[in-house]
Symmetry: C2
């Protein structure tokens, strides 16, 4: 049709009509016959298996899990995973709709199990966490409801201990800082690089001599370090000197390695007084949880030179790290990764499956958390 200015306009005519009509009918059928809903239903593992085949136990996975594809296969041979795939749906709504019959769940540090979550899971009897720490689970409430809890136990202990030792060597011998020195081309220009400090003979105080702390001690003994420790109670089978008080431990140590559990008693266990007792040359390594240390005080002490250095894998407000630390050469920073190796994930997967098999066979969990 010619326009008033004589310009001819062409258009697509009926080229799209069939497609649009098809789509409209598709939407109508989907709404009426709940096709997308059914798709989510199947993906969430809710579709009953064919008659005659054994019904696999349903396991709610609140945590982005598994990490390794081969595990998914292994898992799905034994269990059906109930996952919240539509993250726009509120968790509680999802639980009310789909999880009323769920007896076991898998959680992690990023997916807490609090009283509200528990209130939406009336059939729950087993909570498994992929973490060694338990600070994201309401343990008293689980105990009250008779829910058993299993954790990652010692699966990560060796990796975390390796990482703690790596951080310590790195801080004392200034490896990351040396790497920056070389990478930024300063070696030919400046030549001299500041001396580090020897590992051998260092008095290392371990705060929390559990499975991680014990692995750290075993490794550091091979370097000639002198070990002592603090924990809730003296461990009769352990040969190292025990300090019931962290300040005394710090006063008698060149290095503190923090590998205890975070709970009400250990929150900010490394405070200003502990850092003062550790002193100007003292080094702190934290592979536990950020809130074990009064982070503001730590940053102040590092900036003012009131302690000698720090290697930190964990922080109070992850993933946010105090920016003042970015300028310091006597600190080494890592993004909460002390546990992260494919080897420890494989071990974790095996443990999770073993725990679920035990639970659904009415046997005690392999890595049962004492909760009394």
């Amino acid at each position: 049709m010619p326009s008033p200015r004589g310009i001819v306009v062409g258009y697509a005519g009926t080229v799209f009509s069939v497609d649009v009509a098809d789509f409209a009918v598709g939407l109508l059928i989907d709404v009426l016959r709940r096709i997308s809903f059914a798709h989510r239903f199947i993906r969430a593992g809710l579709w009953p298996l064919p008659l005659g085949s054994k019904q696999l136990p349903l396991v709610l996975t609140l945590f982005r899990f598994p990490f390794i594809p081969s595990f998914e296969e292994q898992f799905s041979e034994k269990f059906r995973a109930l996952k919240r795939t539509d993250l726009s749906e509120p968790l509680n709504q999802f639980l009310t709709k789909h999880a009323q019959s769920v007896r076991a769940l898998i959680c992690g540090a990023g997916a807490p199990v609090n009283i509200e979550t528990l209130n939406h899971l009336p059939s729950l009897s087993c909570v498994l966490t992929v973490s060694a720490g338990l600070d994201h689970i309401d343990l008293p409430e689980c105990r009250r409801r008779g829910i058993v809890v299993g954790n990652a136990s010692t699966v990560y202990s060796e990796d975390v201990a390796d990482f703690a030792v790596g951080l310590l060597i790195d801080v004392l011998r200034r490896i990351s800082s040396a790497d920056r020195f070389v990478r930024t081309g300063l070696w030919p220009l400046k030549g001299e690089y500041p001396l580090g400090s020897k590992l051998g003979g260092k008095r290392v105080g371990i705060v929390g001599l559990g499975s991680i702390g014990s692995e750290v001690a075993k490794r550091l003994e091979a370097f000639g370090c002198v070990i002592s420790y603090n924990s809730r109670k003296k461990k009769p089978s352990v040969p190292f000197p025990y300090y019931s008080n962290v300040i005394d431990l710090a006063a008698n140590s060149d290095v503190l390695i923090i590998s205890c559990e975070l709970n009400n008693e250990t929150f900010h266990i490394i405070n200003k007084d502990v850092m003062s007792a550790l002193g100007k040359k003292g080094v702190i390594i934290n592979v536990g949880r950020g809130a074990l240390i009064d982070e503001k005080e730590l940053v102040r002490c590092l900036v003012k030179g009131e302690i000698g250095g720090a290697g930190l894998d964990v922080f109070e407000n992850e993933p946010h790290v105090p920016k003042e630390l970015f300028e310091l050469d006597n600190v080494v920073l890592a993004p909460h990764k002390a546990v992260l190796t494919p080897e420890s994930f494989s071990a974790l997967h095996e443990l999770v499956i073993a725990n679920l098999e035990a639970f659904f066979s009415n046997k005690p969990l392999v890595s049962l958390v004492k909760n009394d």
Copy 2:
């Protein structure tokens, strides 16, 4: 005096005259009475001690030594140090002028003792190096002249072993790279950090199981690594599997740690074939000397992903490091500092003094190098 344009010019008058005159007289006296020369003479330790006091033995120090002030005092109670303070004077001229009677010298990797230096030191009978390596000393020529040689022996072994283990943990668990990740603010933005690899169970091949290699083995056993080694000869007292061929060792290892001596036989001992045998996931740690590895080939293999990673404290052309390495996250670089701690320097100082005392008392050196 008014200028043609009427501008008045002032000047300093006689204000400086006295100072300039004084200086001219000073220069004249200095030249005639050799004051600066005498100053250098005293600083070089050439001034004879007062009559009656014992003449201390003269020791030529070619190396910037000592490193720690307290040592200077301790040293000067027992010996006189002959140092070349005027570096504009050629070494040979300095030696001819001042070192004809010198019987002992201290050298280091940065101050080689070659045949030319030896030719200028007719009285020399003892060469001490502050290094564990001997590649900067002409050993056959020393033997021919009956000069005894002492080195740093095992003084640095623990520190170097600590550093090697630190580099290995750093490469496998990506500590320096994690530190960059956090410092550049990427954690809150990217979240995920690539997995590292577990130490435990890794097959570690040590090239050169001397005192450093043995200390490395002792440490890595505590991490659950599986050790084997290559050296000139199988060591009967060592429990680890022995490979007479480095390629076979590499083919049966996940990690190679290079801690052997650099000499004609070990130059480029880690070549293309060894790296191929080690394979795509293999890691190389070098705390020996740069030229033990074919560096060009190493860089190519790292860039192409033909080996998995490297931790390097030494390079072929120090302080110059191949720039291609600066971009890689699977390498950790250090400026030849594996030996550098105050503790090892103290031990070195004691050893140097003990060696000199032995030499000047006609006793065998404490850390005598076998040179036959």
